[in-house]
Structure formats: C-alpha cells, structure tokens
C-alpha cells in the first residue's frame, strides 16, 4: 500500500457561533473566533489517498486527476468565500477546522471511491501552520 498526498491552499473567512447559546457563552467558549464580522485564514488542505501503484503507470492515482478533483469539489466552492455565509454545509454547522475536514471528505470521497482506484485515506486541514484538524472517515 502506498499513500499519496496532494496539497492545495485556499483562503476563506469564518466565525464561530452557536445560535443556541447566549452571546456571553459564545464569547466565553470561542473567544476572538466569535467576532460576528468574521476573520480569515490561508488554509492548507492535504488530501491523502492510498492504494497499490498501477502496474502499467506506476501511479496510485494520476496526480493531475486528483488536483482536478480538489479544484472542482473544494477550490471552486471554498476559495475566497465566507464559510458561514456562502458555503451550504455550514449554514447550521460551525466551520471549525474539524468540521471543514469532515466537509472536505464528504465532497471528495464519493468521487474518489467512484473512480475505482485508490481510496481516500485522510483529509488534513491546516488553519495556520500550527493548528490543524484531520478526518479519516467513519471509524
């Protein structure tokens, strides 16, 4: 089994807010992230697929194809967007790094599984160089 990772970067804004809570609790739990005007990050997405190299090509997947999947499923929807206001899966879900990793998985996994080659192993989302979250599917 070989694991192959493709990295991509996008920039987006978000804020953390739980509508079920009073403002005071939101501020207490989420701190500066609760600013309703939002703030932004340069995110780095790492998409890892796993499989055996194809005997004919030596590829686990064609990297160009994986790049296009990321472009089509993630970049066009998320790059230079506001997660809370413009991205449908965050209409009622707080766009934490954990939830962004899960959402990225859900956007890409059916396409990668449908191609019949490598499987999606994990998605890692760096919010900054020091903060990241990862999702590995249902475990």
């Amino acid at each position: 089994m070989v694991f192959l990772t493709r990295r991509a970067t996008f920039s987006a804004s978000h804020y953390y807010w739980n509508e079920a809570w009073p403002a005071e609790k939101n501020q207490q739990v989420f701190g500066r992230c609760a600013n309703r005007n939002g703030h932004g990050h340069n995110y780095t997405l790492e998409v890892t697929v796993a499989g055996e190299p194809d005997p004919a090509t030596g590829f686990v997947v064609d990297l160009k194809w994986l790049k296009d999947v990321i472009e089509d499923k993630i970049m066009t929807a998320w790059d230079h967007r506001h997660f809370n206001l413009e991205v449908p899966e965050f209409a009622n879900t707080i766009p934490t790094s954990e939830n962004i990793a899960i959402a990225a998985w859900k956007r890409m996994e059916p396409v990668i599984a449908g191609a019949g080659g490598a499987r999606l192993d994990r998605v890692r989302v760096y919010e900054t160089a020091e903060i990241f979250a990862e999702y590995r599917g249902e475990q």
């Binding site: 707080i94 766009p95 020091e130 903060i131 979250a133 999702y135 249902e138």
Partner: protein, 147 residues
C-alpha cells in the same frame, strides 16, 4: 463523528548526549559532536495530535485553549529554556530526542487521565529536533508510569 485536532508548539532547550554506562571513547563514538561536554541547543517543535468525537455544540474535538493550557503546564513550562540533562526525568535516561518524545507523550497521557479531559485521546507526539530530523511516538512505551 471522530476527528483529530493537531497543534504545533516551539520550545528551546539544551542537551548533551552522554551515557555514564559508556567509556569516554564509547560516548564520543556513539554521540559524536552531541557528546560535547558543554552541551548544545535546539529549537524543538512539538506536534501533538488528539482524537475524539466532534462535539455537536462547539464543532470541536478539543478547545485549543484547553489543549494549549495542558501542553504549556506539562511540557513547555517544564522544558523551555532549560538544560534537559538537569531534569529529573533525564537523570537515568539520555536526553535524545527519541527519549524526549516519549517523555512528552507520557507527561501528556498521564494528565489526560484526569476526568476534566475526558472525551479525547492522545494519538501521537512528534518532536522535531531540527528541520531535518523528527521523532514520533504513538504510545507510552514499556514503562507506563513516570516518576
């Protein structure tokens, strides 16, 4: 839904790789420049990954404020700007980065047993000694409890 949250921290410390069980010549052979009697230092990066369910109300595996407080209390405040050889944990263990990595894993794992941190699990500790070498621990090793 289980997910993982990772965080990277910096700490600077000095160490000398030297074993009392070896002769001076054996120490020089084993550790080379790292056996310099006066020690030397590194800017270490400690990467911590925790795993657990994503809480519905916060969207988080762990609040980074809580994780930061834990790592600061257990690891950063203890080792940052110190000589690792003088820490009681390294009186009988050479402060290689393998051993530092395991010590950090144990320190964090032991504090995670407290009920206040229930719900998330320590997945790994990775310690980068320089940009070119790093070490990773997924368990506490044979000795579960530390002094």
């Amino acid at each position: 839904m289980k997910a993982y949250f990772g965080r990277r921290y910096s700490l600077s410390a000095s160490h000398r790789l030297h074993s009392d069980a070896l002769t001076p010549e054996q120490n020089r052979n084993a550790y080379g420049k790292c056996n310099n009697p006066h020690g030397h230092g590194h800017n270490y990066t400690v990467e911590v990954l925790v795993g657990g369910p994503v809480a519905q109300d916060t969207g988080m595996v762990v609040n980074l404020v809580d994780l930061d407080a834990l790592v600061r209390a257990q690891v950063i405040d203890r080792f940052d700007h110190t000589n690792l050889n003088l820490d009681p944990l390294f009186t009988s263990a050479v402060p290689t980065t393998e051993n530092l990595c395991r010590v950090v894993f144990r320190l964090l794992k032991e504090s995670l047993h407290k009920p206040s941190q229930a719900g998330w699990n320590l997945e790994y500790v990775r310690v980068e000694e320089t940009e070119n070498n790093f070490f990773q621990c997924f368990d506490a090793g044979p000795q579960v409890s530390i002094a």
